[in-house]
């Protein structure tokens, strides 16, 4: 313990050196901006900064990337809260609660909560990385596609918490999303599924088109056509975020659980921030005494999901630093940066490159502290857009959705899909079909299929593998309970006259 503290102290001093600190700040700014723009993901922005690291040393390179990583996972929540446009799939649960809070005049509170929960989650996971990385990595290494499948199923099972009025409607929406995820060329056999000869469907439906269309365009149409004119919708007097330091104490439960889920799920190689945000949101509703408030602008849902997203950053770094295995797409790019500089991450890294490793870990701590200030400034800049009159704002949201979809593959087909999903999003709202489960299905469905088929191949098509491994069995049992319990409760409830 003493040795770790000493190394961490030395790492902290090194991370605060002007060049290293500058790289962290630059990375945070790039990450927050890129995360906030739909169509430009956090992983894209890490890839974009990779060429600039060739001429740097390994420490400033990694600190730049860590800045982008920590800022990127948070950035998408700003536009999610303000405009119902999540920058990344991982920010979707934050958007569900944050946007409703914003519409109810609690923009400042929602932004402040998102900043603080992200920072606390990221800080806790960085400390976890510093003190408990090696033993955790040994345990996590024993997990396989079987456990990953169960984690994703657990995330999908939380769909039962997303249907505000009807669990059946939520299931329809979820399964429709999972079906959309099967369109395109199947990975194992290379067979085209449900493309019906349409060229752009052969590469599948990109979830970003679904995300932007359903949330942003659907919302613009909703605002435009409701009997109440859009420019008379109530807007908060001020949108300057406030940092609710004391307000976090009553929310310590969701904050703790969200961070813990983030670290654990992030620490499972391949799971990542998106799965952890969905799982922690679903879990939080199960813990809640007022589950009916979720989806209506409920702070615990936002805190749980946001803390888990940043909590997953430290978890994902554990695999990279201790085993040399990237735990997510972002850390895979970071592995590339290590290899470019001739360093092979792995069990020996902590002994051969002690100073560099602890500077990187300390850099994560510094990045999460700095994110409070930079996140505040970024939120302030974006929040000023809330003062723009609705006709102008809604028009430019549509144009930005166009650009976000087009930037995916420079293909107008993605723009078409986005706009069509926008109309679908509006229709779904009118038909009382919840939108979030569909998005969840598109994102998590392909992951579930991949893990399921891998498990089947590795076990010789033995389905019992999912119940004979204890972690998987526990997660699946929990998933069944989550689905069956509210369903049974709804059946026992008498139909109102």
């Amino acid at each position: 313990m003493g040795e770790i503290l000493a190394n961490l102290g030395a790492g902290l001093l090194a991370a605060l050196a002007p060049l290293n600190l500058g790289m962290i700040v630059l990375g945070l700014v790039i990450g927050i901006l890129a995360g906030a723009l739909p169509g430009i993901t956090m992983v894209n922005s890490i890839v974009l900064v990779l060429p600039f690291t060739y001429l740097m040393g390994i420490v400033p390179s990694l600190l730049l990337m860590i800045g982008v990583y920590c800022g990127g996972v948070f950035g998408g929540s700003i536009t999610g809260i303000l405009f119902n446009i999540p920058g990344d799939p991982m920010n979707v649960p934050t958007t569900w609660e944050g946007y409703r809070m914003s519409r109810a005049g609690q923009t400042r509170y929602a932004l402040g909560l998102a900043i603080m929960s992200s920072a606390v989650g990221g800080l806790a996971s960085a400390l976890f990385l510093a003190f408990l990385a090696p033993p955790f990595a040994r345990v996590a290494l024993g997990f396989s596609s079987v456990e990953f499948f169960s984690v994703v199923v657990f995330g999908l099972a939380s769909v039962s918490v997303l249907g505000q009025s009807s669990m059946r409607a939520a299931l329809i929406s979820l399964l429709a999303g999972m079906f959309l995820g099967t369109i395109g060329t199947e990975q194992q056999y290379g067979v085209e599924r449900f493309a019906f000869g349409v060229p752009f469907l052969k590469t599948g439906v990109d979830f970003v088109t679904v995300l932007i269309g359903l949330f942003a365009i659907g919302e613009v149409l909703e605002q435009l056509v409701l009997a109440e004119p859009a420019d008379t919708v109530e807007r908060p007097a001020t949108t300057v975020p406030r940092l609710p330091l004391l307000d976090l104490w009553p929310l310590r439960g969701p904050l703790f659980r969200g961070t813990l889920v983030g670290i654990i799920v992030g620490g499972l190689a391949g799971a990542g921030a998106t799965v952890s945000s969905f799982v922690s949101y679903g879990l939080e509703k199960q813990f809640s005494r007022r589950p009916e408030l979720f989806g209506t602008g409920h702070a615990p849902g936002l805190v749980a999901s946001e803390s888990s997203v940043n909590g997953s950053t430290g978890g994902a770094m554990i695999h990279l630093l201790t085993l040399g295995i990237p735990g997510s797409a972002a850390t895979a790019v970071m592995l590339g940066a290590f290899l470019i500089h001739g360093i092979q991450p792995g069990p020996l890294l902590f002994t051969t490159q002690t100073a560099a490793v602890y500077t990187i870990i300390a850099g994560m701590i510094v990045a999460n502290v700095l994110m409070i200030g930079l996140g505040f400034v970024a939120a302030l800049c974006f929040a000023t857009l809330m003062k723009v009159p609705a006709p102008i704002l809604n028009t430019f949201i549509v144009v930005f959705c166009f650009l976000g979809a087009y930037a995916l593959r420079n293909d107008m087909a993605d723009v078409w899909l986005t706009m069509l999903f926008g109309v679908l999003g509006f229709v779904m709202r009118r038909w009382e079909l919840p939108v979030p489960p569909l998005v969840m299905g598109v994102i998590l469905g392909p992951m579930a299929e991949g893990y399921f088929l891998t498990s089947m191949v590795s076990s010789g098509n033995d389905l019992t593998v999912f119940v004979t491994r204890p972690v998987s069995a526990a997660l699946l049992a929990l998933s069944v309970l989550i689905v069956v319990w509210p369903f049974a409760r709804s059946l026992r409830r008498p139909v109102p006259a």
Partner: protein, 163 residues
């Protein structure tokens, strides 16, 4: 009515797609799960969920009439959807710059903006800022339009010193 239409449509679509999934497993090796297994599982689940929803609506049919959805401006909705689709349709033909300028002006007017000066300023100024950001800074190859419109777009790019 819509409470029944959605699950009914979902049920029909799931059954049609289930039928379309026949033949997907022809490439699968003996004794292994083919590429059609997962979609069939999902579509089967979708059909069951739609049936359950229909049954639920049948049970609750007495209260169905009591809930009326919020009123919407149908003409405005049709115009908004048409404008958005026209924007996407026109962009490859006339280029992003001209299409966006026209879309911003028309959509703002539809959304309730009244001042012609504000509309024009946003249409022109907004498009120029977008072009600088996405063409000059991000190097996004936005559609320039076909035939004569490409010449117009390129002239605009040169005038704005984007090239």
């Amino acid at each position: 009515m819509t409470r029944v239409l959605a699950p009914l449509g979902g049920l029909v679509l799931a059954l049609v797609l289930l039928a379309a999934s026949r033949g997907l497993d022809e490439v699968a090796r003996e004794g292994t799960l083919g590429p059609g297994f997962w979609p069939r599982l999902v579509l089967g689940g979708l059909a069951v969920a739609c049936l359950a929803k229909l049954a639920g609506e049948w049970r609750a049919r007495a209260r169905a009439a009591a809930v009326a959805p919020a009123r919407i401006a149908r003409a405005r909705l049709a115009a908004a959807v048409a404008l958005i689709l026209l924007y996407v349709l026109a962009t490859p033909a006339i280029g992003f710059a001209l299409a966006s300028m026209a879309f911003i002006a028309l959509f703002m007017a539809l959304a309730g903006a009244r001042s012609p000066l504000v509309i024009a300023a946003n249409a022109v100024g907004g498009t120029v800022i977008l072009l600088y950001t996405f063409v000059k800074l991000v190097y996004l190859p936005l559609p320039k339009g076909a035939a004569g419109f490409e010449t117009v777009t390129l002239a605009l790019y040169r005038a704005l010193r984007l090239f």
